[in-house]
Symmetry: C2
Subunit: 363 residues, 2 copies
């Protein structure tokens, strides 16, 4: 049903988009990549320009994700050898560039949760944003700020318990260290010959897309539909009936499991997040800016982002609790924090289910 | 609106119930009290009859609650001096008799939650009952069993983490001690001259209810309606809009607060639980068995029971975490457990809101 509704033949009329449209999309993304790279080089080294450097890195990641997704979805229309070489390199680049932001955002999420769990007002200046106890927007704002420059002023810990304050300090130490390492790794990557080879390939792509001989007149829609079908199949396999039942207590079911591995129950949801992204970018290649207007796809994607972020934050809290020689009060606070984030996971699944159901029903 | 629907003039037709009906209700409850007391004395002392003693104690509490509630709701129709003397004695008796069961049920709830959080099958033999992860029925079954006799066989801890196992052992130690003390206190109370004075008064009540001179012909319904109005007012003051929004994360908002007192946000809900009970018993006095058929009142009451139980279980986990010299892993497990029970609190509020809303809408 969802598949029907999201049928890429739906939102536009007119001639079918062909390989030419794909080439145009790839050229635009490659141009965007080069622009971001130029911006990064101009701002990255000068002092006081960290904000611009963060913005440039984000734009780089944004175009890399789209090029990589198009290579995947529209593989049969592109030169196979070229595509096989470029895709893993883009995946490496995307992964390397995303880690610093991920650690910063995770720390902010956990510190905000500690504040909330202590009954403290969450960052008074942002109270307008932080309605309903959950503050994803505030987290993003703060996270961007943290990534941008020097560590943000520590949130007021005056009314935290000793345990919550110590837990916050421990998480800050561990995740700041991880973030710093990720920053160095990203810097090294952007200066490496491996990166320069990728940048050269993308520079060529900005003017010349290696389509197969038949691609320029081939219809893009069957390939986009296949991407959508993979998404629909993966969603069908999700436990949506459980997720749609509030307070099902499913996400914390292994909260105290001896297995230190990430919750295996999260994997299908992470997979759907990736497939939803592929579907979204496939639509962009077909319809350009018109495609990005589908608010429901964005909402579903945001729920899955929140799912991923909460899942990883919960794992970080559990991992911090295994630090040797911590005080019991610290461990207790980390336990509460872990459970809180696992409930965020459950809440995100509920939000996704509600959003997805609405798509199906509104058809 | 709810008030309209629950109007005691609604479910029955015929002549208005008067003070005579109240007298009949009180006589029946007093007779029930005496029957339960006889059963308790017959079974309580003989070995191997613990089950019967538990049943008798439950029946005692059941009739005490109803007599006490009637004295409160229909106060103007009863001899004031007699009523003023008896009510605090009934409250003392009810409180004393309920503690042992409460500690046993709390321990069972927490041990079941630890099992669930460890991803273990919850008591294989009861899997049929324990659908959906939450197992209130199983808890009650087990709790009754625990109260009844020797400690139940410890649940299989084979697949618990060290922390979960230690947390379970700590809770078992603390709550079993509390239960044993409560048992002794109840035994002493039932042998005390204070109790015999109460029993004598109830024995008189079984044949002769001290109504005021005008009571036999007075309409009971205005007093019952006043009880219902107090309930409706208290429900109106609850944050039902928040409660009706799943995953509002409100119940855990002081989860790490330095204040060791019980969550003040729970108090209005506990108050509604008591007022709902008063309303239910007031209807029983009016309509007898016909009144007890209102499934929605029972459902709302069950949600509030679950709210109270989860609230107290969460407090017990938090309190156990303050035990000196516990291992960090134990404290971590108790933190997860505390948060889990606070989410049960939130889930119970949601269930109450849904049930109450249905009452209003179905009108």
């Amino acid at each position: 049903m969802a598949q029907q509704h999201l049928d890429p033949t739906d939102p536009t009329a007119g001639p079918a988009p062909t390989g030419e449209a794909l080439a145009g999309y790839l050229r635009a993304q490659a141009t965007e990549f080069l622009r971001a790279l130029r911006q990064y080089r101009e701002t990255g080294t000068a002092p006081g320009t960290a904000e611009g450097s963060v913005e440039a890195t984000r734009a780089l990641r944004r175009s890399v994700r789209r090029i990589s997704a198009s290579l995947h979805t529209y593989r049969p229309l592109l030169d196979a050898d070229w595509s096989e070489v470029l895709r893993p390199e883009l995946a490496w680049l995307s992964g390397t560039l995303s880690m610093e932001h991920a650690y910063a955002a995770r720390l902010e999420r956990l510190l905000l949760a500690l504040q909330r769990l202590s009954g403290a007002a969450v960052f008074p200046a942002q109270t307008g944003v932080a309605t309903g106890g959950r503050v994803p927007e505030a987290i993003q704002v703060k996270a961007a700020h943290v990534t941008a420059g020097p560590p943000s002023p520590a949130p007021d810990r005056g009314n935290l318990t000793v345990g919550a304050a110590k837990a916050g300090a421990l998480l800050e130490r561990q995740l700041t260290l991880a973030r710093t390492r990720a920053h160095s790794t990203a810097l090294q990557a952007l200066g490496s010959s491996r990166f320069h080879a990728v940048a050269d390939k993308v520079a060529v792509l900005a003017s010349e897309v290696p389509l197969t001989p038949t691609a320029p007149t081939a219809d893009l829609r069957p390939l986009a539909a296949a991407a959508e079908e993979r998404l629909a199949d993966a969603v069908t396999a999700l436990p949506l009936v459980t997720a749609g039942h509030p307070y099902n207590a499913a996400a914390l079911i292994h909260g105290l499991s001896p297995d230190p591995a990430p919750h295996p129950q999260d994997a299908p949801w992470h997979q759907v997040r990736l497939l939803l992204r592929l579907h979204r970018y496939a639509r962009e290649a077909l319809y350009g800016d018109k495609a990005s207007l589908d608010v429901r796809l964005l909402t579903a994607g945001q729920a899955l982002h929140r799912h991923r972020d909460a899942s990883e934050a919960a794992a970080a809290a559990a991992s911090a609790a295994r630090t040797p020689r911590i005080a019991p009060a610290t461990a207790y606070a980390l336990g509460v924090l872990h459970a809180d984030q696992r409930h965020e996971v459950e809440a995100a699944r509920f939000a996704f289910q509600q959003c997805w159901q609405k798509q199906v029903v509104s058809r």
